[in-house]
Structure formats: structure tokens, C-alpha cells
């Protein structure tokens, strides 16, 4: 066969080889650089990862006071923990004593091991802070309302899983701190016995014992418990959080983007930027068949794309900025402060004081009055209360505005004062004068379980928010009062548990006063 006239396959091959890198890019990003509105749009919806975002983003969502970047900061911290966690898994061995040795190896033998561990620890802590603040942001801007109720619920799920991830990770180093924190945690799971014992029915009905057994896989914190916590930490909870996150993000889009005030467009009128020209300048060339089979209205129908800008680059650059800031913060903290590692776990000598991770110290403070109330009943009530917020407050006034709704900022200020003062006063009283058992040594346990600082604080908060509902004739006011009290109580109890409790859980003004032993 003779080659076709004028064609040189070999030359073509060389040409193809030379242009391969360029072609690679072209085939990956089919529509060229995101320079025009059209190519910016395809950049978003043509990409499997980016298309969780809408193609255009409302200017209100981009104001930094709308979100404070807290949601993105949560996911950024999660991603950092994910990557560093996988790195740690190369060296970590989930077996008692070997686990501790591998933590030592990571700290002293593995190149950059200590930094990776620090990054993991700090990003996990930062994630907890960011998630709590993000929840507060969503609450105070009243973003949980229709149609976002369900996403708020998903958020509560995310909060629980985030705390679960931190707690299961806390055991893995198998040092004294870890061992005793988990011993306490597992016994909190068993604490329904406080009630069943007092009623004398533990023999027939023992949910507490079952919970502890499922968690530990044995009667004590040992190899079985470690492998369970490990599995939860590296496999089950990450999968659960990934699924919840997918739903969370999907719902943000389907709920019509972020919540914004009804008058957002008027308020933005003054700030209108040149990018926000009318988008649909011609009649659309296509009608949407898919849209036709959906009953009712989706959140987008009837809203023009006015006051929106292309997500690429406006939203993505902001998100990248938050990611970099989060990473920078984790790195800075990791360089100046090492993750702790105490002595090898010793089941015979408790760490004194034995403290859980800081975000659980508020609970530990309550637990020091009643294990069941502080460890199970009140956390359950708090979670239930948080979950019900969007179903109990269905008003519309103030959506999308900070501290929006009846009562507003003055009510929040007053609730913060109330929320802080009540636990401070009750704690001061209990620390100074003791509690029921010190006065009446023979008092039945059920009375102590029912009446203790933990239940009194909770009842005070509940009454205060009922009063707020009446005073302002508004369910939103009640929610504002309750949530603010909850944050105040969390803060006070955490600070007391962290800074003012020493050996034997005795109150000390400062760790410098702790007895030496």
C-alpha cells in the first residue's frame, strides 16, 4: 500500500504528541477558560464536584456577614482532618499498648509525623468550634425556617457525628488521658442504671448495661473497645458524615440558596455592582421539559437571576480563601503547640483529674452531680430542643437578618446575661455549700437524680423562654431566649470544667493551687 498523497502519519503522530498536554486540558475543561458568562456557567455545571453549587450566586450570600464563612470553615477543617487522618493510619496500630507505641513512633521517629498529628488534632478541634458557631449563625439569622427546616435537622445530625468523631478519636492514643476519658464515657452510657437501680428493675430491664456493652464489646476498656472505637473513627462515622454532608449541601441548593431577608434586593440596590446586569436578555430558546412534570413550585420559580453573580469566580474564590485561612490557622497552631500524649494507659491508677476533651467538660461538670441527668437525659433534651426549633417557631419576621424577629438584639443580650448568671450562681452555691447528699446523707438517689444543679439550670432556661414567648407574644422570641441561654450555659460550664476543676474534681481558682502529689 502506498501512503495517501500528502499525508505523513509519522509527522501527524509527532504533532499529536506535542499538542497532547494542551488537548488534555481542552478535553478536561471542554468550554475553555471561564472568561464569559457562558463558559463560567459550564465550568460549574460541567464539573461533577463544582455542580453542587448553583451557577450563579446571590450577592446577599456573598456578603461575609451573612455566613461569616463558618460552614466552609467546618468543611475545610473536616477535609484537613480527613487527609492528615489517612496519613496517620499508615503508622497507627489499633491494639492496646501497640497503639501507644505507634503514637510515640509518630511523634519521635516518623518524619513530619508529629506535625501531621498536630494538624489532625487541631483541625478536629477547629471543626468542633466552627460547627457550633455555624449552628449559632444559622440560628441567629433565622435561616432554619421554611423551606430549610429539614436542612437544620441534617445539621443537628452533623453536630452529633462531629462530636462522635472527636470522642472516638480521643481513645486511640491509648494513654492515661484517653483511657480514663473513655472509661468515664462508657460508664455514662451505662448510667441509665442510676434510675433502673433505684427502681430495682435493672435485672429485667438494663438499657444502660447494654449500651456500655455495645460500645466496649467487653466488661472493660480493652482491646475490643479500642478496635470498636477505631472502626467508628476511621470508617463508620466518616461515611455517615460524608452522606449527611452530601444531603446538607444538596439541600442548600434545593432550598433556593442561602436564606436572605425578603427585602434583600432593595437593600442591595445601593451596592449594586456592575456585574449584576440582567441575565435573560432574550427569550429562552428552550423550555424545560423536566421542570414541567414537577408539581407545585420549586424554590427558584418566580425569582429572577437579578442581583446574582457567576459562582465562578466570585463564590469559589471566597471559599478557597476560607479554606486557606483555615489551613493557615491549623498550621500555625500545630507549629506552636503539640498534641498531648501522657503516660501509657494504666487501668489501676486513674488520671487525676481525668478530663474529657474540652467541649465535653461542660457535660462532665453536670455529670459530677448526676451521671444520668448530666450525661444522658439533659444532652438528649438539648438535642431534641435544638431539633424542634424550626417546627416550633414558624414565624417569618426577621428571616435572614442577624438577631431578626421580635425581641431582637436586646432580648439576646438579656438572655445571654441570664444564661450566664444562672449557672454561675448555682455552681457557686453548690461549690460553697455542697448539695443534697452532704446535708441529708440518707436521701434516696432518685431525689438527687431529679433535683441537682443540672436539672435546675435546665428548668430555669425553660421557664425563661416560656416567659419570653409570653412577653413578646412570639415563638421566635422564645427560641432566641432558649438558644442564647443554651450557649451561655455551655460556655460557663465548659470554662468551670476546664479551668476551675482540679484533682478530685475540687474547685480551685487556678491550677497553681492544685496540691502536688
Amino acid at each position: 500500500m502506498t501512503p495517501a498523497a500528502g499525508k505523513d502519519a509519522l509527522r501527524e503522530f509527532y504533532g499529536n504528541l506535542k499538542s497532547a498536554p494542551g488537548r488534555l486540558l481542552e478535553t478536561a475543561f471542554r468550554t475553555g477558560p471561564p472568561a464569559t458568562d457562558r463558559s463560567r456557567s459550564t465550568f460549574v455545571f460541567g464539573n461533577v464536584f463544582l455542580h453542587l453549587h448553583a451557577v450563579r450566586t446571590h450577592l446577599w450570600s456573598l456578603r461575609w456577614t451573612t455566613t461569616l464563612g463558618l460552614g466552609i470553615m467546618s468543611i475545610s477543617a473536616f477535609l484537613i482532618a480527613l487527609v492528615t487522618g489517612v496519613m496517620l493510619m499508615f503508622y497507627y496500630k489499633p491494639y492496646p499498648d501497640a497503639a501507644y507505641e505507634s503514637m510515640k513512633d509518630i511523634a519521635f521517629v516518623v518524619p513530619t509525623g508529629r506535625l501531621i498529628r498536630n494538624l489532625h488534632r487541631w483541625s478536629a478541634n477547629l471543626m468542633v468550634v466552627a460547627v457550633i458557631l455555624h449552628m449559632a449563625r444559622a440560628f441567629y439569622t433565622a435561616a432554619y425556617r421554611k423551606p430549610r427546616e429539614y436542612n437544620w435537622l441534617i445539621g443537628i445530625g452533623l453536630l452529633v457525628v462531629t462530636l462522635g468523631l472527636s470522642f472516638t478519636g480521643y481513645l486511640l492514643p491509648w494513654d492515661q488521658l484517653a483511657y480514663w476519658a473513655i472509661t468515664i464515657g462508657a460508664n455514662i452510657a451505662q448510667s441509665p442504671r442510676e434510675v433502673t437501680d433505684a427502681l430495682g428493675i435493672t435485672e429485667y430491664f438494663d438499657p444502660g448495661g447494654l449500651q456500655r456493652l455495645l460500645l466496649l464489646g467487653s466488661d472493660e476498656v480493652g482491646a475490643e473497645a479500642l478496635i470498636r472505637f477505631y472502626l467508628l473513627h476511621v470508617m463508620i462515622l466518616p461515611l455517615v458524615i460524608a452522606m449527611l454532608l452530601a444531603v446538607h449541601f444538596w439541600r442548600i441548593r434545593k432550598d433556593g440558596g442561602l436564606a436572605r431577608p425578603a427585602d434583600a434586593d432593595e437593600r442591595l440596590a445601593g451596592l449594586r455592582r456592575e456585574e449584576t446586569y440582567p441575565v435573560f436578555t432574550e427569550a429562552p430558546a428552550k423550555t424545560y421539559h423536566l421542570a414541567a412534570i414537577i408539581r407545585g413550585r420549586t424554590e427558584h420559580v418566580g425569582r429572577g437571576p437579578e442581583n446574582t453573580v457567576p459562582s465562578m469566580p466570585h463564590l469559589f474564590y471566597a471559599e478557597l480563601g476560607v479554606l486557606m485561612l483555615t489551613f493557615f490557622a491549623c498550621m500555625a497552631l500545630s507549629l506552636v503547640s503539640d498534641a498531648p500524649l501522657k503516660e501509657l494507659a494504666n487501668p489501676n491508677v486513674p488520671e487525676n483529674p481525668a478530663k474529657a476533651p474540652w467541649y465535653f467538660l461542660g457535660l462532665q461538670e453536670l455529670v459530677s452531680y448526676s451521671a444520668f441527668m448530666g450525661g444522658i437525659a439533659i444532652p438528649a433534651i438539648v438535642l431534641l430542643g435544638l431539633a424542634l426549633i424550626p417546627y416550633l417557631d414558624r414565624e417569618t419576621e426577621g428571616t435572614g437578618r442577624w438577631f431578626g424577629g421580635p425581641g431582637g438584639w436586646p432580648l439576646v443580650r438579656f438572655s445571654a446575661l441570664f444564661g450566664v448568671c444562672v449557672p454561675v450562681l448555682i455552681e457557686a452555691f453548690a461549690i460553697r455549700f455542697g448539695w443534697l447528699r452532704e446535708w441529708f446523707p440518707d436521701i434516696p438517689q432518685l431525689v438527687v437524680t431529679a433535683i441537682n444543679p443540672a436539672t435546675i439550670i435546665t428548668a430555669a432556661y425553660a421557664l425563661f423562654s416560656l416567659w419570653s414567648i409570653r412577653r413578646f407574644q412570639s415563638t421566635r422570641a422564645g427560641a432566641l431566649a432558649l438558644f442564647t441561654c443554651f450557649l451561655g450555659g455551655f460556655l460557663v460550664l465548659t470554662v468551670i470544667g476546664t479551668y476551675f476543676r482540679g484533682p478530685n474534681w475540687v474547685f480551685y481558682w487556678s491550677p497553681a493551687d492544685w496540691p502536688q502529689h
Binding site: N187, G217, N348, R437, W505
Partner: protein, 161 residues
Amino acid sequence: MTTTPKAGRSRLDPEPVPRRDWLGLSSLAAMGSALLFGLIGMLKLPKAAVLASPSKKFRVALPETLPPGEPFVPPGRAVAIFRDGEGVYAVSTICTHLGCVVKSVPEGFECPCHGSRFARDGEVTKGPAPRALPWFKVGLAGGLVTIDEGTVVPSGTKVAG
């Protein structure tokens, strides 16, 4: 929407699935119950038939010089053993609050975790612990004491030997 059901059906508004499709329904029910029972069976997985716990029984020799009413804690065990005029008895040193190991002090026992205090006989004197420290079954054999941490006996049960 303002469409009335009688007005000619649109092709976007298809006929609802017939409810009396009993074959479909019964296979659905069969699948559901199979799944349910499978799940219930699998729920047993996390609870092993034999728990990986160390033996609850052990034997020790009490020191000759143990003063009456003073605790002896064998190394590596969470039990305080006493001997007095009435006999030998063993009190758990695991706090009934949240499982820390209590320390023996002159007045009895003290828990480092949340400050529960117990008298020498295990009764709660202070703090959040909901129950007294349990007493364990004690046996005397030769010069040795056998303790069974798996068997709780009523407080005050002393074994004379």
C-alpha cells in the same frame, strides 16, 4: 394548582398505580419482612457470646501484719481486702459513679474523678456516686483468700476462718 380531577387527564398526570396490585404488594411485604428479620439477626453481631474479659476470680495471700480494719489492695486489682475480728471481706474499689478507681484514705475511700467519698464499708458519704461500693464473695482455702469479683454479696458479709 387549579386543575380539577375530572377535566381530561394530561399525559403528565398519569393514572395512579392500581392499589390492588396484590402480587406487587405481597412481594414487597415479603422483601420487607426478610430485610427486617435479617437485620434483627445481625443486631446480635456486636455482642459476642463469650466476652473477652479476664477471669473474675483470683487468689491472694494476706500479709501477716495486716492491721484489723485496714485495707489491703493486691497489686493490679481493684479490690480492697479487710480482715478484722469477725472475718475477712472484700470491697470493690471501682467507683459506682463512673468507674474510676477509688483511693483508700483514713476515713474510707475517695474518688479522684468527681470527688465521691465512701466510708470503710463502702457506703456513700459524699458526691455523685449513686450506690455503695459492692462487696465481693470471699472464700478461705488454706492460707489463701479467694475473691470472686463476679459475685456481689450483701454488704456486711464477712467470712470467718
